[in-house]
Amino acid sequence: MWLSVIWALFRKDALLELRRRETLLAMGAFGVLSMLLYNFALPLDGDRARDLAPGLLWVSVTFTAMLGLGKAFAVEKQNDVMDALVMSPAPKAAIFLGKLASNFVFIAVIELFLIPLFAAFFPVQGNAPWGAMIGTLFLGSLGLATIGTLFSSITVAMRAREVIFPLVLLPLMVPVIIATSQALAAFLNGETTAAGAWLRMLGVADLIFMVASLWVFEFLVED
């Protein structure tokens, strides 16, 4: 039951996206643009680039993700899909996990697309531990997608939702932003122990966000 609900919702969002290509295109374009802008705005040469790059990468990803997350529930609002979902016998938590799955995958796809660009735009060493860095990005994105999915279901029905969604999300994301940027920086500098400590913190944050969100989501969608 759970898995089939999650899969059905994910499949629906993925199919919609494959046909309309709205969210991913917008996110991808925005991600590229933000990296270009950093290069125009900041003196990114040599060592400085290596110091700044991990933080800039994660901030780029956060803003890009926000673009998609903010309207994740817009599609459920049309034709009252959300009401139908809530009325269906599907467990509320499974509905949450289904939306979370598609949001997370969208962010992950964008990250895989941005990583090579990032390596090209920012002169970081070629032998950077890319695998570990991608893992870090995914772990950070999980926390981002969890809280993003939760609050996007609230703000979608609100006045001024484009403004209010980032305002709700970003302060809550402070620990994820710190831990992910620090872990990325530590991996780039070869400090594996420090990176591991940050990853543990990120894992704990993800876990707390996940458990809390699964618990409170049912209260958000009950009408």
Binding site: V168, V174, A194, M201, V204
Partner: protein
């Protein structure tokens, strides 16, 4: 029908009087009676405002957290009103914590702002709860506002320890914390007792503010309801 703007109840009035007396006494104690730390000098007296407001800020957010859970359990709007009232009053104390911390920082460290772990945590808290009030203000329906508010209140509170630890690590891994934090040897009782007294005074003041704010929120709610009923009756 009793007037929704009924006068302050006995609790509100008495807590207000006690708060006034205690705050005045605490200010006098802190400014004129209590001795001053030899190394930190007169500016350290701001401690008597800073530390109590920080504690009351955390207390306020704990009240929001508990009231939010109770609301989701019982669906009694009373708890939502308490959370709302605590957020408004808590935000004032959080602002006071930030302002007094900044003034202290200018004296002690020579800068208005530093990314000290505790200062940063309080700043993020301030933002989260400012957004909490903002979100509440954008929702018109009582039950929906209460539910959304409760969820934000719960997640925001659970985020506090994560924020604190991440900021703390972030600072300590990057530079020695010793310059940034005034090392705190055991506090002398001459300082500790007025500090505790001031904290008690601030807590009483906070309780008074929450009760008063709650009365105003309820009055506003019944005013809106009466207005809607009138519109309804006049056939609009």
């Amino acid at each position: 029908m009793t007037s929704p703007l009924a006068k302050a109840g006995p609790w509100e009035r008495w807590l207000g009087i006690v708060a006034l007396v205690m705050v005045v006494a605490g200010v006098y104690w802190g400014l004129f009676v209590s001795p001053v730390d030899l190394y930190q000098g007169e500016p350290m007296r701001i401690l008597f405002v800073h530390v109590p407001s920080a504690w009351v800020s955390f207390l306020a957010f704990f009240v929001i957290f508990v009231a939010s859970i109770k609301y989701l359990r019982t669906r009694d709007l009373k708890y939502d009103t308490i959370a709302h009232a605590a957020a408004g009053s808590g935000l004032i104390f959080t602002g006071l914590t930030l302002a007094s911390g900044s003034i202290w920082g200018k004296y002690a460290w020579g800068v208005w702002w530093t990314w000290d772990a505790r200062l940063t945590t309080v700043a993020v808290l301030f933002l989260i709860y400012a957004v909490y009030l903002l979100v509440r203000g954008l929702i018109d329906e009582d039950a929906k506002r209460a539910r959304y508010g409760a969820v934000l209140g719960i997640i925001g509170f659970l985020d506090v320890p994560i924020i604190h630890f991440s900021v703390y690590w972030w600072r300590t891994l990057h530079q020695p914390a010793s310059i940034l934090r005034p090392d705190s040897p055991r506090m002398a009782p001459e300082l500790m007792i007025p500090l505790l007294f001031n904290t008690a005074a601030f807590i009483v003041l906070f309780a008074h503010l929450v009760i008063a704010r709650r009365r105003v929120i309820e009055a506003e709610r019944s005013f809106t309801r009466a207005q809607q009923e009138q519109l309804h009756e006049s056939g609009v």
